[in-house]
């Protein structure tokens, strides 16, 4: 269940900080795929938390 709190923290933290994601759209020198990389990292983190949750509830 403690994993759920981490998820809640992630979602609300992400919600508040998400406008930072959009700053790279037209900035020269910033890789266009940067938001997708961050998104991919979040998915990997969620997958890891899901595995942790399974162990926690076993």
């Amino acid at each position: 269940m403690y994993v759920y709190r981490i998820m809640l923290f992630l979602v609300f933290g992400g919600y508040l900080l998400s406008p930072l994601l959009m700053s790279g759209w037209s900035s020269p020198g910033v890789a266009w795929y940067r938001p997708f990389v961050i998104w991919g990292i979040l998915i990997a983190l969620t997958l890891w938390l899901e595995q942790k949750r399974k162990l926690d509830e076993r």
Binding site: V11, M22, S26, F36, L42
Partner: protein
């Protein structure tokens, strides 16, 4: 515009044909269930969220707001990231109560059919622009490819075919709350098509329009900058509002709600979607900027509009076909699922509420055709909205109008999960206010083309000049939530709502009351239900519920009947919605009111707690751990224990009682006391009504044997708790009762033995006198006749003396006489002496004795005590023998021991008794005939002689009978102390 109408029509028809083929393949079982039930299929089916908006609308939004288009994907990804705390509780609720739509959920929680109707109307109004958006993209795509004058007609043909598909495959199951493998597989198929098409279009943009990622980056850093300056980076507040809208869409949009909650999927699958759906959406979102930038580089955005830039990537028919197929796949999946979910909502919350299906001759068929008609009507209304309204607006305006409308249900949904104090009046008031602002600010302007009417509250003047969708979202949701909270706080919540709130709340456990029903068995449910559903449907529904619960139709336990009623209500809810289902069961399967104040159904609460264990944290988890520990103490108590509620309903039946009674706890818990199997109902009733708290040694017959049980009762009523009842401890005192009986019997025998010793002593004196006189007579006469007579008198008095001496020895219990030395004793002689005494007894006269002990074989022992041993053994053998049977005493040397055997042909010994024969008071004889002391005495005497004893029953090679084997030493051991044997050994 290089494609002919026929080729586009063929392309669309080919795709729809593939959809039908996919559905047939699953229906006919051509695809393995391992494939169709794979979690990936569910994730792809959830991809129905990526509607035509994701294909075309995102491009339009990206062209205007840059990465702002990602809000559409990240909002729903956030909702699924919170699946364990947000989606799983809703899934649990919808599954438990068979709720298939948002309207069902609200009607169930706020206990009003009109709430369901209100949610249905709002959903219908909100979803119409989204439906129109789907059809509009279809028409626009056809126009872009063919330049046809009437793409709307072709869009209508495709919509009709999609509606036909939904009507055929969306109503195969009578009830909605079942897993539609076919439908899920087809929606997954459409998701694969749109994903592959989008990735292919992204690849074409990256590698055919640009020359790879490096060229793209160089263009973005160089000439592309000119195009990017027109992009308005969304204000962080706008961005967050968009995120909130799409977050709400994941929970509230009818098609997402249907796939997420109405399809019976495992919790594990839903949790897996928390990362797999965001991954799918990432892949869907990735090609969007690539297509946009490619279109901008090619300069096609001016000509065809940003939403349809994918059609301008190439003049090739196949590239445009990919863009068309991506849109058609997204549109078809969305239309089918929206039609299914909305038709169910309209049916359950509008038609059935207005026209209850009382005793329809064929209810299932009637419902199926109604739903089919409604599906067609929903899709047709989407086309009509597109023709009359949609054509005048861009995709973003249509989409946002839909999402803001559905978001009005968000406060209600969150309160449903996390605020048990929320009530119907508050929810409806808030919803009406919020929806009114939405209608005036977004929906009516959509319809009429008039400007938005938004009343900005004082203090929020800074919102003036902001986009209308943003202002309407903020003002409507804030007003909605505020009115909801205030009205809920100042008005009263009904009992029904409070109970439903507990059932819905994330932290609460359902605490139903223990109320009795009029029906006494499951079978009796059918007749009253038939009045509402018709005989056939009533029978099938009751049997289905019985099968679901694994119950017998004759089970009469009140607890089981309450669960059956709940299950029938849940199943009917899946068929006709919660409002109609509740009306039917309340009317035809009512509870019996009056009598005792109903209390919590503790057994049910416990079973729920068992299921909720993984959800508990912190103190609750610790307390649950303690509860389990205390429960285990009671269930594993080595004494029988049962507990009754104040209404005589059995609440607990522990393991020891189950072992004693042979009745499994699961089969009787929840039954009334008088419904328990004999003799328990009557016995426990006696304990409950007895004036004293204890009943000692109650004689009952259990498993064919008489047992003696002691019952102790205690009341459970406490001052600070409304739960009352009684707990009863049941102790099995049978063994103790038998021991007591044997002790009394032994004491009686002991007193008889003492009497016999006294009598023998009194007889011994005159007999000695007679013997002396006979001796004198022999000295005083030479008459041969007199001498013979005197000799006979002496022999007879010797015999009397031996008998008296034996009786005295026996009465003394074989106590060793101090100072008696062990001497060589012939077992043949000892056996003869014993037989002599045995024959004096009247019983067993027809049993034949054979003494086969060789006369020359001797043992070292006390002849008197060994005789006692033989008497006891022969007595037992005689008692066990049938008339005409024979008993053989034999002896043979075995090393330094002599083995003596006493073998009979009697009925033998039970294996369980045999192991305890040398324990005092163990006997196989009827009460009063045996003391159970004979063999312990034998064992003791043999032990004093340093011998051993064994029992073979039956003897090896024999079918019946018993053989007692004694091993006695034949010569003195060097260190043996023969003078003072320890009688306690």
């Amino acid at each position: 515009m290089n494609a002919s109408l026929a080729s586009v029509f063929s392309l669309g028809m080919g795709y729809l044909l593939l959809m039908f083929l996919c559905a047939w393949a699953v229906e006919r079982g051509w695809l393995s269930p391992r494939v169709t039930r794979h979690p990936a299929v569910y994730t792809l089916a959830l991809g129905v969220y990526a509607s035509a908006w994701a294909i075309y609308g995102s491009l339009e939004l990206a062209a205007d707001s840059g990465y702002g288009y990602l809000a559409y994907y990240l909002g729903v990804a956030g909702a699924f990231l919170l699946a364990p705390v947000l989606l799983v509780p809703i899934q649990r609720m919808t599954r438990t109560h068979q709720l298939t739509s948002l309207a069902d959920l609200f009607a169930f929680r706020f206990r009003s059919r009109w709430v369901g109707t209100l949610i249905t109307v709002i959903s219908l109004l909100a979803v119409l622009p989204l439906l129109a958006l789907q059809v509009q993209t279809l028409g626009d795509a056809i126009f872009l490819m063919t330049g046809a004058a009437s793409p709307a007609l072709l869009a209508l043909v495709f919509s009709a075919l999609i509606a036909l598909f939904a009507m055929i495959f969306g109503t195969r199951h009578g009830r909605e709350h079942a897993r539609h493998d076919t439908l899920l597989a087809v929606i997954a198929f459409t998701s694969v098509i749109k994903l592959v098409a989008m990735l292919a279009l992204g690849g074409i943009a990256l590698f055919m329009v640009f020359e790879g990622p490096a060229d793209l980056q160089a263009w973005l850093d160089g000439p592309g900058q000119l195009h990017q300056v027109s992009v308005l980076q969304p204000d962080p507040a706008h961005w967050r509002t968009l995120l909130l809208l799409f977050f709400a869409a994941a929970l509230l949009m009818p098609h997402i709600f249907h796939i997420t909650f109405a399809e019976t999927l495992s919790r594990h699958t839903l949790l897996q979607a928390s990362w797999s759906l965001p991954l799918f959406l990432l892949l869907m979102a990735l090609p969007v900027p690539l297509i946009l930038w490619a279109g901008q580089r090619l300069g096609s955005s001016e000509a065809i509009g940003a939403a349809y830039l994918a059609f301008g990537l190439s003049e090739s028919f196949w590239v445009q076909a990919l863009a068309f197929l991506a849109g058609l796949a997204a549109t078809s999946g969305t239309l089918v699922i929206i039609a299914m979910s909305l038709s169910g909502m309209i049916l359950n919350h509008m038609l059935l509420v207005a026209h209850p299906p009382e005793a329809q001759p064929n209810l299932y068929r009637w419902l199926r055709w109604l739903r089919r008609a409604l599906m067609a009507a929903v899709i047709l209304s989407g086309w009509l909205f597109y023709r009359t309204v949609g054509v005048n607006h861009d995709l973003t305006t249509l989409g946002l109008a839909a999402f803001v409308g559905m978001a009005q249900c968000l406060p209600g949904l969150l309160a449903l999960l996390y605020w048990p104090g929320a009530n119907r009046k508050g929810m409806v008031s808030g919803l009406v206010v919020g929806v009114s602002i939405w209608l005036a600010g977004l929906w009516l302007p959509l319809l009429t083309g008039l400007p938005s009417v938004i009343l900005i509250p004082p203090g929020l003047e800074m919102l003036a000049g902001e986009p209308s969708w943003y202002v309407v979202t903020l003002v409507s949701l804030a007003a909605n939530a505020l009115v909801f909270i205030v009205v809920s706080l100042v008005t009263r919540t009904s009992d029904g709502e409070r109970a439903a709130a507990e059932a819905c709340s994330v932290d609460a456990v359902i605490r139903p009351k223990r109320l009795p029903l009029y029906a006494t068995t499951g079978e009796e449910f059918k007749q009253p239900l038939a009045q509402a559903l018709g005989e056939d449907v009533a029978r099938r529904e009751v049997e289905r519920a019985l099968t679901d619960l694994g119950m017998s139709p004759l089970d009469g336990r009140p607890y089981a009947l309450r669960r059956l009623r709940d299950r029938i209500q849940a199943n009917l809810s899946g068929l006709m919605g919660p409002s109609v289902a509740q009306d039917i069961v309340d009317r035809y399967l009512p509870y019996r009111r009056g009598g005792l104040e109903p209390t919590d159904d503790i057994h049910f609460v416990e079973s729920r707690l068992e299921a909720y264990r993984s959800r508990l944290t912190g103190l609750a988890r610790e307390l649950d751990g303690l509860r389990r520990y205390h429960r285990r103490i009671l269930t594993r108590l080595p004494v029988g224990l049962c507990a009754f509620g104040v209404d005589d309903e059995l609440l607990m039946w522990n393991d020891a009682l189950a072992a004693l009674s042979g009745i499994d706890g699961a089969s009787v818990v929840g039954a009334r006391r008088d419904g328990l199997p004999a003799p328990w109902g009557e016995l426990l009733g006696r304990a409950l009504t007895a004036p004293h708290d204890h009943l000692y040694k109650q004689e009952v017959e259990l498993k064919g044997a008489i047992r003696f049980l002691s019952l102790h009762r205690a009341e459970l009523q406490a001052d600070d708790d409304v739960r009352g009842g009684s707990v009863i401890l049941i102790e099995d005192h049978s063994e103790m009762k038998w021991l007591e009986d044997e002790l009394v019997h032994a004491a009686r025998l002991a007193s008889i033995g003492q009497l016999a010793a006294g009598v023998a002593h009194e007889i011994g004196n005159p007999v000695t006198g007679i013997s002396s006189l006979a001796q004198n007579l022999r000295y005083d006469t030479d008459d041969p006749e007199v001498l013979e007579t005197a000799q006979q008198i002496q022999q007879l008095t010797d015999r009397i003396s031996r008998i008296v001496s034996s009786l005295v020895g026996f009465a003394h219990g074989g106590r060793h006489v101090k100072g008696t030395a062990l001497a060589p004793v012939s077992m043949a002689t000892v056996t003869d002496e014993a037989l002599h005494l045995i024959r004096l007894a009247r019983s067993g006269e027809d049993v034949r004795y054979h003494n086969r002990c060789p006369a020359e074989l001797t043992v070292l022992g006390d002849a008197q005590r060994l005789q006692q041993v033989m008497i006891n053994l022969l007595n037992n053998a005689r008692d066990a023998s049938d008339p005409g049977g024979q008993i053989v005493v034999d002896a043979e040397p075995e090393g330094e021991l002599l083995k003596v055997t006493v073998t009979d042909e009697g009925h033998g010994l039970d294996a369980r008794v045999r192991d305890h024969l040398f324990e005092p008071f163990t006997t196989t004889k009827p009460p009063g005939e045996g003391t159970g002391l004979g063999l312990p005495l034998v064992y003791s005497i043999i032990a004093e002689h340093h011998g051993r004893i064994e029992i073979e029953s039956p003897p090896p090679g024999e079918e019946r009978g018993t053989r007692i084997c004694l091993w006695l030493p034949t010569q003195r051991e060097d260190d043996e102390d023969t003078d003072e044997p320890d009688s306690d050994r």
